[in-house]
Symmetry: C2
Subunit: 193 residues, 2 copies
């Protein structure tokens, strides 16, 4: 149940509306905990019912009212408790790698195109993360603890995107490469799963 905690964590600094949270998630926490706006609204109701956040409606003319949520002491306590509990293992899902399990001569071009489009996706993400890094996190050692934690999230994002980009280049080269002549000398390796 880390969705609720991802929201509580986002409310640590200041109060936010569901709409704000959805946008923040797109840029920051959402990188390693993707959440839709529907999930956020629903979870905010539950958190409010559980007394972990307090809701306050802000009336606006000219545009829809906002409901701003802030952490309660109980919410803060729930966060502290959660931090001492074991962390669930990371999960990673990449359909492209599943598809590559079926790679052969006949679908090669389709998959090459998919890898190319992945390459672009990761290049864009990398550029975005590096821009944030340059603007907001110039020297990590000078940051206070809270901001160091956020720096580390961004840092992970940058390292991951760079690695994935490098993988895309390798993959493009290897998939495009025609079948090599049989290796000389040492017998062929055992077929694997």
């Amino acid at each position: 149940m880390a969705l609720s905690h991802a929201i509580l964590v986002s409310l640590l600094d200041r109060a936010h509306s569901g709409y704000d949270l959805a946008k923040r998630f797109d840029q920051t926490v959402g990188f390693f905990w993707p959440v839709s706006h529907q999930q956020i609204y629903q979870e905010l109701h539950k958190l409010a019912a559980a007394g972990r956040v307090r809701a306050e409606t802000v009336t606006q003319s000219e545009r829809p009212n906002r409901i701003v949520y802030e952490l309660t002491d109980e919410g803060r306590r729930a966060l502290d408790q959660w931090l001492t509990e074991p962390t669930e293992p990371p999960t990673f899902k990449e359909e492209l790698l599943v598809k590559l399990f079926a790679l052969d001569e006949h679908n090669r071009d389709d998959l090459l195109a998919e890898i190319r489009s992945r390459r672009q996706l990761h290049a864009e993400r990398l550029a975005r993360y590096e821009a944030i890094m340059a603007e907001h996190y110039p020297q990590p050692e000078a940051l206070n603890a809270r901001r160091r934690g956020r720096y580390l999230g961004l840092r992970m994002g940058i390292l991951t995107e760079r690695t994935t980009l490098a993988w895309c280049d390798e993959a493009l080269a290897l998939v495009a490469l025609p079948k090599a002549a049989a290796a000389v000398g040492s017998g062929r390796p055992r077929p694997a799963d």
Copy 2:
């Protein structure tokens, strides 16, 4: 609905029972598409009902019977179709990074311990993947297309684990580092999200 396709892909080479598939998933496809055995059994029923796999019971004395599934032509067609469709974007979930958003002096030691245990997890995974690589995929250019695709999955795993390991080391150092004296000269950076 990539779960069904992950299973079909696993049946490309030879027929397998649900139990086999669950074990294979733990080592190979499961790295980028984690699935439980309950999901596999249930999905196999659906695939059989849809005519994409054919079930055959293998009677065993001394231990429970196995139900072995093999791809049908229709299953193969479904796979080909899927390969031409757009691939869903990768997702990555890491609760530890969410927790780090709440980092402060008071929870520092708990989080350091969590990072250390992650470091170990990734070191173990890396060792496992490198062993498989050394044994089964010595020279990627010499592989046929199908095996190149699988090599690329493993390769992604290795690159990812190495990167994550490096991140763990950075994180351990930065989180443990005491707060530096205020930076000299250039004004302090704007606080970021």
